[in-house]
Assembly symmetry: C2
Homo-oligomer: 360 residues x 2
């Protein structure tokens, strides 16, 4: 939906038609007056469609703050106008664009991969941290510490080409189901955020993901789930190595974490990948705080927002004491600095697209 653009287009067409009708009125061309009526109706319709933008956001101060900011920076002649090339919008992924409970989905992917690969590694039955995953023993896994997690990563995210990994991710997304909702993980995308991304792009913003998740885990679904093309997905990554397999060049994924796009890594990555400061940023946890601070320091108008998970019925309620997506310091900062805080329970009419399907 590109409401206003189309609406303005229609208005211009109507203007042109009205002038033509004016010219030809002397000829008594009545039929053309009918066309003007149809055109006016189409503008009414267009306005209704426009009103349906951000449809999953409840009317209130948060929705209004979004609309006011975007309107101010995209209206030519406005004192706050921002040129389109500078309309950079950055979004965290886990807990901001899709859910992150009961654990980051990429971690659940890694566990599923360990189980799928176990038959070819019989020693894993008694070897940690693999045995912990195979027995769903999260305490034993936690005891294996960072070294344990790196072993899981090496076994599941490295040792194949980038093209092979992409296919593994796509196969998993096609078959795996979320433990609580019984649906593909890509259905756990937040419908209001999808609408917000579209709303921004329709107004000339470039929308980027800046996530602690693996960049090559997100890219296979970012285009279909969010309309975000691969080159606008920034994330953590393992090292890759260029080599020739016979006559064919390939990139091999290495068991080396080359970059962690979390916390202070986010402004670093934004600068490396985008090369100019964002004017719009959205996160949900303390790991997003430096990205939000970085955006808040952008000279000129900017918009900084946090999603607060407050809805245990439709999604989850968690913040300061959560192990996943802890929101503590960033929440304090948001209050002090006047950033927008989205209260999921209060501000979202619906959380997931499938809710609507059930309600209708």
């Amino acid at each position: 939906m590109r409401g206003p653009t189309r609406c303005s287009g229609s208005l211009i067409q109507i203007g042109v038609r009205a002038m033509r009708i004016g010219k030809r009125a002397a000829r008594g061309d009545v039929q053309r007056a009918l066309r003007l009526g149809i055109a006016l109706l189409s503008v009414l319709l267009c306005t209704l469609v426009h009103a349906e933008e951000l449809a999953s956001w409840r009317d209130g101060p948060v929705k209004q703050a979004i609309i006011d900011f975007v309107s101010a920076v995209t209206t030519p002649g406005s004192a706050q106008f921002i040129e389109p090339p500078q309309r950079i919008a950055v979004f965290d992924n886990d807990g901001t664009l899709w859910a992150e409970q009961p654990a980051y989905f990429q971690l659940l992917f890694a566990f599923d991969r360990i189980k799928a690969l176990a038959p070819s590694h019989p020693q894993w039955k008694t070897q940690q941290p693999y045995a912990a995953v195979l027995n769903n023993d999260m305490q034993a896994l936690a005891d294996s510490g960072e070294q344990g997690l790196l072993k899981i990563l090496a076994a599941t995210h490295a040792g194949m080409t980038t093209a092979e990994f992409r296919q593994i991710v796509l196969d998993w997304l096609g078959s795996a189901r979320h433990p609580r909702f019984g649906r593909p993980y890509t259905e756990l995308v937040y419908q209001p955020m999808r609408e917000l991304l579209e709303y921004l792009r329709d107004r000339g913003f470039k929308t980027f993901i800046v996530s602690g998740g693996g960049v090559e885990f997100m890219r296979p679904f970012s285009e279909s789930a969010y309309g975000i093309v691969p080159e606008r997905v920034i994330g953590s990554r393992v090292a890759t190595r260029f080599t020739m397999r016979g006559d064919k060049p390939v990139l091999i994924r290495e068991p080396i974490v080359e970059f962690v796009d979390d916390g202070p890594g986010k402004p670093v990555a934004i600068d490396h990948f985008i090369g100019r400061p964002p004017v719009f940023a959205f996160g949900n946890s303390d790991g997003d705080l430096p990205m939000l601070q970085w955006t808040a320091a952008t000279p000129g108008p900017h918009f900084v927002a946090l999603l607060h998970h407050t809805d245990g019925d439709r999604e989850w309620a968690y913040d300061r004491r959560s192990r996943v997506g802890r929101l503590d310091q960033a929440l304090d900062q948001a209050v002090v600095r006047g950033w927008v805080v989205v209260d999921m329970k209060r501000d979202w009419r619906r959380v997931f697209a499938f809710e609507g399907a059930a309600q209708r």
Copy 2:
């Protein structure tokens, strides 16, 4: 100039007008026939303008190969059609988009910075590698080896914020002059390549720089020189560190080379930054070979080209034995694999925009 798009647009308009005139012919509306004449004239004009695209390329097999490829992959219904999101075009910078003699311009920038900073470092007069730079003693500099170059880099490219470095680069670009041509370095951009970038973008391609040069050295001028926005500039980089200066977040450039975007680093960077394979690649040296191989391995149609510096009069003539921008293995591969080789002397009507100014 977006020739064909505008021309097709005009043709459609003419079709619509012709139909209207046909309908009204019964009314004897002669004036409208005049309008059709004007419209036809505008298409003729449009065709002439279109012919001016790639104006600095001489007619011949190379120019034709570019036009044929682009036409095949952008014509809807063509068997070779490529969807716009996948029209990824990658260009080396030094020696491909602008000159690289007598040395990479970024190296000349570093030398100028050493000279500018020398008054505050009196010990440099006798300390290598700085003394070598201050005395223009290139042999002594070469003797200082890679460690010497890293010291030069640390002294000139690190220890400041990213914003400060950007301003230093802009100031230098505004004041420094090329030793042979006596012009700002940004005038050493190749006019035919600028036209090619525009030609591709007008047809829905996304043009990226993938250069061994420093990403934060290129971004300050890439938009004005090439029409390439910062987020489409990929290059080598030093590490940056996020920190708060009082209440203000900054990124500090560290004296650590974090990534070298040359040779096998180019496909690695393309995959990290763009996340899909290019369909169009242009380089000029052996450092570009892996990028060209990577592009040549893209399934479906693709275009791979090398610029061969053959024009000692207007620019420079060098290839297999050059210390800067050596072109040896990649030239052999181009012959074996049938890649397009641009012969600067033969294929370019003009090299730099200022030549035209002198000739006219």
